[in-house]
């Protein structure tokens, strides 16, 4: 291609262009005209996936701050999958819930641009910009149902706390710049490894502040306070989108910054992250047990899954790094599919996301109940699903790094989590529907098809994970 700098940006540009097109169309469409705006995003996402495939193994650097290495591209593909599933599910619910389609799809696409940028950026400032792009889009998406007080409250809380954490992150960048004299990850890395700085308070402070910033975005305990409210208040499909997309992007940047740039300081941050991981896994599952709202329950479960991912980060060996990537993929597909089911079952006047709304689902919608069960079993980490392989991979990384205690906490919390996932299954299969509850809606074919694709992916990753594991290992090899 003509300009290698630009090459690295192509995946992002594809998505940006369709996002702009979506916005433009929305502005100029006739008042009563209904356009299939949502589907346009798929074109951009397809372009991003295709260009990622073409860029594989080329390690192109764009303007010194964006790098299309295999790591970034793997994450890009995961993000594309998240985006595509989100858009397909959304197409079923946006109109039903009276969400303004143009804004909605444009925001989703812009959020994905920010996510891809975050995963491929190699400059702290660019990471910050990406973080803001995706955060702002997601704040708005959280409150996209303007008539819902819960949604507005969620968006407001998320926005305030998010802004707060952005400040932490920015301070972290400032201190890092103060010590290392650069915001480029590579320059910081070589500076840090050249100097014996391990007791420099400034750099430790910078490290701590960056850690807080990331911990907020991945909702690690004790920076998770916003998560349950934001997840419950947002429309189900948006919750699915942000519980996967934001987490994937943040983890990609987290991994890149902490495992390459701040690698020399791992003795300082590893114990801290290990405790974060333990607290996150424990709190996420234990509090999850007490929830009766499915969205809130899955919010806590996604907190716990963040904890498992942190275990992979702590293990910090080659197994752990690849495990993070695999787990991100497995978790994203599974979680998004689960939220897809919730979204599809909702109605305009009623979210239908309380546990009792699922009672007897098996009798009325057996296929949907079965699909949901696969998702829940995968989230619980039972074979033969993607979640099982993901957990297996994460815990084997922890064991081989000597973190037996983290692995033990991890497996025990997964058992607790199985308890609350099973509560949903119990509801669907073993409980009778309360009188007076509306019958679950019929699921449109497109939504069902998307769910089927996700389920096939979950089982495929659970039974024949080799190919994807190899890809993950290969892509992680490029940056470390």
């Amino acid at each position: 291609m003509f300009n290698t700098d630009l090459d690295a940006l192509i995946p992002m540009l594809c998505v940006t262009l369709t996002a702009l097109a979506t916005m433009g169309t929305e502005a100029f469409r006739g008042r009563s005209e209904r356009l299939p705006i949502g589907w346009w995003g798929l074109i951009g996402l397809g372009g991003a996936a295709l260009s990622s495939a073409l860029l594989w193994n080329r390690n192109v650097v764009g303007y010194g701050v964006i790098v299309a290495d295999n790591f970034g591209l793997f994450v890009t593909v995961v993000l594309v999958a998240i985006g595509a599933l989100t858009i397909v599910f959304s197409s079923q619910v946006v109109h039903r819930d009276g969400i303004p389609a143009g804004e909605y799809y444009a925001l989703v696409l812009f959020a994905i641009v920010g996510m891809i940028m975050m995963a491929t950026a190699t400059d702290l400032l660019v990471i910050f910009v990406a973080l803001e792009i995706l955060s702002l889009a997601v704040y708005v998406l959280t409150g996209v149902r303007r008539d819902s007080p819960k949604g507005s409250e969620a968006a407001f809380k998320y926005f305030l706390l998010g802004a707060f954490s952005s400040a932490f992150f920015l301070y972290g960048i400032a201190f890092t710049y103060g010590v290392a004299g650069s915001t480029r990850l590579e320059a910081i890395g070589s500076f840090l490894s050249a100097q014996a700085l391990s007791n420099n308070p400034m750099i430790l402070l910078a490290l701590g502040l960056l850690l807080v910033g990331f911990a907020f975005k991945i909702s690690a305990v004790p920076f998770h306070m916003w998560t349950p409210d934001a997840y419950e208040g947002a429309p189900a499909i948006v919750t699915g989108f942000m519980s996967t997309g934001v987490k994937v992007a943040a983890f990609a940047a987290f991994t890149r910054v902490f495992l390459s740039t701040f690698e020399p300081f791992s003795t300082q941050w590893a114990p801290l992250v290990a405790w974060l991981a333990a607290a996150t896994m424990i709190l996420g599952t234990v509090v999850g047990v007490a929830q009766s709202n499915l969205k809130r329950m899955l919010a806590y479960s996604s907190i716990a899954h963040g904890g498992y991912l942190l275990v992979g980060l702590v293990a910090a060996n080659s197994v752990g790094k690849a495990a993070i990537l695999f787990y991100l993929l497995a978790y994203s597909v599974t979680n998004l599919a689960a939220f897809g089911v919730i979204a599809l079952l909702g109605a305009r006047d009623r979210d239908n996301d309380e546990l009792r709304d699922y009672a007897g689902l098996w009798h009325t919608r057996p296929a949907l109940a079965a699909l949901m069960t696969v998702c829940l079993l995968s989230l619980g980490g039972l074979p033969p699903t993607a979640g099982f392989i993901g957990k297996w991979y994460i815990f084997s990384a922890a064991v081989s790094a000597g973190y037996y205690w983290l692995a033990i906490i991890g497996v025990l919390t997964s058992v607790v989590s199985v308890f609350f996932y099973l509560r949903v299954v119990v509801m669907m299969y073993m409980a009778d529907r309360e009188a007076g509850l509306p019958a679950p809606a019929a699921i449109p074919g497109v939504g069902m098809a998307a769910l089927m694709v996700a389920i096939i992916a979950i089982v495929y990753l659970g039974v024949l994970p080799t190919r994807v594991l190899d890809f993950a290992a290969e892509s992680i090899a490029t940056i470390f």
Binding site: P383, F388, S396, V399, S400, V418, Y429, M430, P465
Partner: protein, 521 residues
Amino acid sequence: MTPLLTLSWLVPLVGALLLLLIPNRDGSRNATVRWLALLISVAAFALSLVIWWYFDPGSAEFQFVERVPWIPAFGIDYYVGIDGISLLLVVLTTFLTPIALLSSWEGVEHKVKEFCVFILALEAAMIGVFLSLDLFLFYVFWDAMLIPMYFLIGIWGYDQRIYAAIKFMLYTMAGSVLMLIAILGLAYLHSEATGSYSFDLLKLYTLQMAPETQRWFFLAFTIAFAIKVPLFPFHTWLPDAHVQAPTAGSVILAGVLLKMGTYGLVRFAFPLFPTAAAEFAPWIGALAVIGIIYGALVAMVQPDMKKLVAYSSVSHLGFVVLGICAMNVQGLQGAVYQMLAHGVSTGGLFLIVGMLSDRRHTRLIAEFGGLKSVMPRLTAAFLIITLASIGMPGLNGFVGEFLIMLGAFRWDPRYVVGAGLGVILSAVYMLWMFQRVYYGEVTHEENKTLPDLRPREWAAAIPLCAMAIVMGVFPMLFLKPMEPAARKIVEQVGYTQPVRVENGDPHRTSDKREVVLNVQH
């Protein structure tokens, strides 16, 4: 060569998936589905007999081995093979599954298709557990099996089914995830020692480990298996699960699932960690004896027949664990034999209790009485199974218990005292129950008109009664194929077992075991 072992678990699984395709929303094709499921399970049984036919009973090696790389980056293979012990357990599984399906022929009326699918999926996973020679594969089957069992208890069980299903699932999982850590640890130690990960059981057998590591790993494995067995004091899930499960679930649960725990001890926990096993065996043996007596005593006072049989399982499985702890050829063969015998006789007990429960919708002993005059054929079948369960000579229970006691006696006679007491108690609670249910006057009016065995009940009861007699009269049929394998495991555990003299305190039981081994060679 035909991949017979792969077929043996694929047949029920593929069968289950095919059944799923039959549209049966309104239940109009229930009969078709039942017959098809029965056909599939009989085919699986026939297949396992074919495997037995071609099995070389003289060899201790794993046979019909199939090995395909699965996740090469971690040294995970699809690796299956059987020796005499696993062969017999596979046959037990495929033998009991058609009977389980028959037992619920009328008891299960709603969602028949799903019921059959779950039973067949369960069968596939259970067979897989017994075939696996790769720890990863083993764990996958081990955990996957929980899912259908959970649904079977939770959907088709009795009143407290949801509680029982969740308890069953969580108990078993809590144990098995710790085993998962130990499995990962083993693979990691292998990579430390040789440079590559491996979950190959035969390679891991030869892995050298520090005693401390062995101890932790052994405990992780053993607790997982002890919960499954269940060994006292990990047994509290069992009465709930057994009582609440539908008849077919109880038959499979008691018949096969519990054996996976003891099988795990024989195949994994003891041979992988011989030093730790030698160290803990006296304690596990003591728990087994406590379980034998405790289970029997609690069984005695149960008002509910199903609960009585459930607690009797705790007692009988105690014998199996005792035989394994003795770790000599007699004890181990007895243990495996007792696993098979218990599968047949307890499967039979649950089957017939299920028939009574189908007729009266109660399982309370006090609700029955004098049934002998009303249903003589059912009474006869129940008597055979009861006597088999007690361990009367000439029936299957005797051989296993006798061998176990013989083995345990050579290990440490003190255990046999307790176990012997258990044998007497088992006669007490079983015969007492039999007497209250079948003898005397018919005290409840509604019992006078109960129908005797129906044809499909005949079909389920006859194989079990016949098997109880065959196993009692021709024990060599089953002892012979398992002998080389048992001998090999004993050698494996025994040889590497140090006499505990290094800390100046030669342990009595270990010395004894050395003597036994010397006699054998």
